[in-house]
């Protein structure tokens, strides 16, 4: 049985604790984590505002996680995504995967990220000193999904 851990919250998370949770069972040889942070690319970013679709978000993340678990025979999957107001440097989200071998752990984490980017109902708004703007979706993020079809 795969251990799915899905969290959608305003709160920060402890990556060490999360990674340790993924190290389950005698047959887990490889754990990969990805953590995303708020970058102040151009300077002048006050904060990022992350909106989501309560209900659908948890559902979409669970579906994506289960899909990854089935596809790569994972022993554990963690997906955490924050919402609300996040200052530069703050953690936005993480995914973590536990598998027998490194390839499965790397590929499934990469797959989860690609799906999170354009299939999970989150929207980012950058609040800058000179105004606020919704982050535009990238064609490259949509294209990244093609490699998993």
């Amino acid at each position: 049985m795969v251990d799915l851990r899905i969290i959608v919250s305003q709160d920060d998370f402890d990556l060490g604790v999360e990674a340790e949770r993924l190290e389950t069972g005698p047959d887990t040889g490889a754990v990969v984590t990805f953590t995303g942070r708020v970058r102040d690319v151009a300077g002048g970013l006050r904060h990022m505002e992350i909106e989501h679709y309560p209900g659908m978000t948890e559902r979409a993340l669970t579906d994506i996680a289960q899909d990854a678990a089935d596809r790569w025979s994972l022993s554990a999957v963690t997906v955490i995504h924050r919402h609300g107001r996040l200052i530069p440097g703050a953690r936005i989200m993480m995914v973590g995967t536990a598998a027998r071998h490194r390839d499965a752990a790397f590929e499934s984490a990469s797959f989860l990220m690609d799906y999170l980017k354009s299939r999970a109902p989150f929207w980012k708004k950058e609040v800058r000193e000179d105004g606020a703007e919704w982050v535009a979706s990238k064609d490259s993020d949509e294209a990244a999904l093609d490699r998993w079809v």
Partner: protein
């Protein structure tokens, strides 16, 4: 039938509300959008570029030609930018 409609991100901002109940006979998502656009300018403007609109029916992503049969909750939003 009555469906609850949700708007997110800049669609919510342009229309000015996050959710509303709408009485509709629309057979598809596209029909529902046409009905909304006919109501008021703010809807017409919000939906003017359909390539920038995504839709979920009862919390599942669908294409704009999807059926609304049995739908209770329809959400409109721009392309997602999570991660």
């Amino acid at each position: 039938m009555t469906v609850q409609i949700l708007y997110f991100a800049w669609l919510r901002e342009r229309i000015g509300i996050g959710r509303e109940d709408v009485e509709t006979n629309a057979a598809t998502v596209a029909d529902l959008i046409a009905q909304l656009r006919a109501r008021e300018d703010r809807y017409d403007t919000a939906f003017s570029d359909m390539s920038a609109v995504r839709c979920a029916v009862d919390q599942v992503l669908v294409d704009l030609d999807a059926s609304l049969a049995g739908a209770r909750e329809v959400a409109f939003f721009p392309p997602m930018t999570g991660g």
